[in-house]
């Protein structure tokens, strides 16, 4: 996963090392080629002047295609932020907003398959996890599983976790919490923990203040 992350996340890494002075833009150790073969026609055409680092990584600017692509990526990211803010304010106003999160602390005792959430006896979310999502939870990610609206007053949340428990046995557990919804947004975190003394998973609920 770490390597995959590096491959995926690090345009930086690629950029940095691909522009490494020992390598041409396509990864050829150009001068080594030149050193062994001073006039290789096919290869020589590709040999950039060393050090490549200074010339191979120009700063993007509006004039270059790459610069314009970077600019538009930046513009779309900012526009997305504005649109997402609008969407949230329109569909999930703070006064009625409730967000449910799922997290996993260690999680060695439990292999998560799915979660079902009932709010006031009504199923609001049933979610089947992919291995990548479970891995992201293991690494400390917290999934926002549900975003919805609730009126002020007392509500009951029931969460059912399904998966494999210790000794690879099918495991289904529930966690319940009653909470008061005020006029502020309500954030509730469903936590999967390992109970080392009992060698069992534990499921609890944290209501964020």
């Amino acid at each position: 996963m770490i390597h995959a992350l590096r491959l995926t996340a690090a345009a930086l890494a690629l950029g940095a090392l691909a522009h490494f002075p020992a390598l041409a833009a396509d990864g050829k150790p150009a001068t080594l080629v030149a050193a062994t073969t001073p006039a290789a026609p096919a290869a020589a055409a590709k040999v950039p002047a060393a050090p490549a680092a200074a010339s191979a990584a120009p700063a993007p600017n509006a004039a270059t295609l790459d610069g314009r692509v970077q600019d538009i990526k930046s513009d779309v990211i900012k526009l997305n932020r504005d649109l997402l803010v609008l969407e949230e304010e329109l569909l999930f106003p703070a006064s009625t907003q409730v967000a449910l999160f799922v997290s996993m602390d260690v999680g060695k005792m439990f292999e998560l398959d799915s979660v079902q959430i009932k709010l006031d006896d009504k199923v609001v979310s049933s979610y089947l996890y992919t291995p990548l999502e479970v891995q992201a939870l293991h690494r400390g990610g917290v999934q926002r599983l549900y975003l919805g609206n609730l009126k002020t007053g007392e509500h009951e949340l029931v969460a059912y976790f399904t998966g494999k428990g210790p000794h690879d046995r099918d495991y289904k557990r529930g966690a319940t919490v009653k909470f008061d919804k005020g006029t502020e947004p309500k954030y509730i975190e469903l936590r999967i923990k390992d109970l080392q003394q009992k060698l069992q998973p534990e499921f609890d609920v944290k209501v964020w203040q």
């Binding site: 930086l12 890494a13 969407e87 990610g141």
Partner: protein, 635 residues
Amino acid sequence: MSRSFSFTPLARRVAVAAAIVVGASLAIGGAAAAEPPASHEIKAPHYGDTLFHFFQDHHFTAITSLMVSQHFERVTEHGDEAEILRGGMLLSYGLHREAGAIFAQLIEKGASPKVRDRAWCYLAKIRYQRGVLAEAEEALAHVENNLPPGLEEERVLLRATLLMARADYAGAATSLAKVDAKTPGARYVRYNLGVALIRSGDVAGGTTVLDEIGKAGAENEEYRSLRDRANVALGFAALGSEQPEQARVYLERVRLKSMQASKALLGFGWAADAMKDPKLALVPWIELAQREISDSAALEAKIAVPYAYAELGAYGQSLDGYNEAIDAFERESKGLDESIAAVRSGQLVNALIERNPGDEMGWFQRLDDLPDLPHAGHLVPVLAQHEFQEAFKNYRDLLFLSRNLDEWRDKLGVFQDMLATRRKAYAERLPQVRARASEISLAAMRKRRDQVAADITAGEAQTDGVAFASAKQLELMALVRNAQAALDKAKPSAETDAARERLRLASGVLTWNVAHDYSDRVWEAKKDLTTIDATIAEAQQRDAALALAQRDEPARFERFGKRITALTPQLDVLSPKVASLTREQQAVVQEIAVAQLTQQKERLAIYATQARFAVAQLYDRANIKKDADHAAARQ
């Protein structure tokens, strides 16, 4: 002997060039982008949500959701940490300017040493990527000792890389000694150091470094591939230094079924040739010549084999070999023309997108999966190019942006409809609800409540509890009064005396019960009054809220409407820009591919020319021999 064939040095040069071609992904494992510290306590669930997307490489969602959470001030507990993460993710998209501004701001505002060090480290990377190496070194110099282990390793590797850039190889080697040589980044940087040393003329130093990698254990395919590359580089460096025996030792280490095998086989043959043993050279070359011709090493083997036959004096076989090679090169050249046409028609890009659709912007991981096109083998060197991969990544990102903008256009339409529906509901339904509320009349309700309160007060003042008596007790009291009246009218007798006594007893019990229940009933009555007060207050609150909604909601809808109206033109501006850039980027991707394929064609042409020249030389030689034979016969 035909040692004077002009083919030899040129082919060998090309062979060396081809063999040293190490894949573009060589340096990928060196550094990660934004990576949160290994142990991170989540102090705000929305920050954890960003990490959840980040860990799945959904960087676009991670960045935008983080920015939304920052807007709503939901991640203030992770303020600087979140900024570092955002800067790192933007950097991984190549958005240097934005990322640089974030890191500079963190430094300027005097963030904690931990955050400041990370910001300096990332700034150094940005400057390195931009090619301003002195400034990159200067930024690195600001880093103290507060980096997390992963980033600290990156710092050392970057420092080594910068030192190498200014030819301070000894400094780079010293710097590298500080990190575990087995980490992925260290392995790549050491490889590059080895190559750089050889470049600088320190063949012995470079060989030592590369030899360590070439002999090191490799626990996965990535490292085994790097080891193969190191051995190929070593082999060809040894060949360049006229050490063919040593070259064969290095090249023998390369796995036969690896990406580097063809280059190693080719070099292995050239080493044998340099040892004046063309027969030995034939073994790897014949094997290589049977491989996929689009492999540049296999291509060269096609003419290396007849060259070796000629060296051995087997001119007939040599001639056949050259003629076969010429035919193969012509077929291949036509194939390349078809590949170029396919690329220009957009088939390559479409096929690659089909195989790498990608839900998010960012890196694609399956580019080694060749598209289903005729002569797909030609595309291997094309796809391996860093330049091509970067260009294709941008192209794919632009397609993602285009989809993203289309989705938002649809959503904004839905939002408009939703607002219209809500406006209508408020305009039509709210007055009805308020009318019903006024029918019930909160004022009348309040009046009745006040009456009840007054009754309770009066009842308390009377202290006899009658005001709080139950209906049954009141009924019994009426019966007692009626019985008393009847008895008062009756003539005195023993019976009436007994009845009077019973009535007195019953009346006494009733008075006792009423008095006994008094305090409880007063409490109950007051409790009920409190409930009535609360209910009336809630009703008043709701009525006020409805009144407020009736007044404010239209204005709120108006504001939302204006925001939607303001955002729509931005979509209208960006969409055609993205479309236009997508077309431009596609052209760039195709041109890079065509340029690579054209180079392959040029290489083929050179090989074909060499083969034809060799054929001509063989015919000349045969003619000279024939003439000599005739002359001898005449004598």
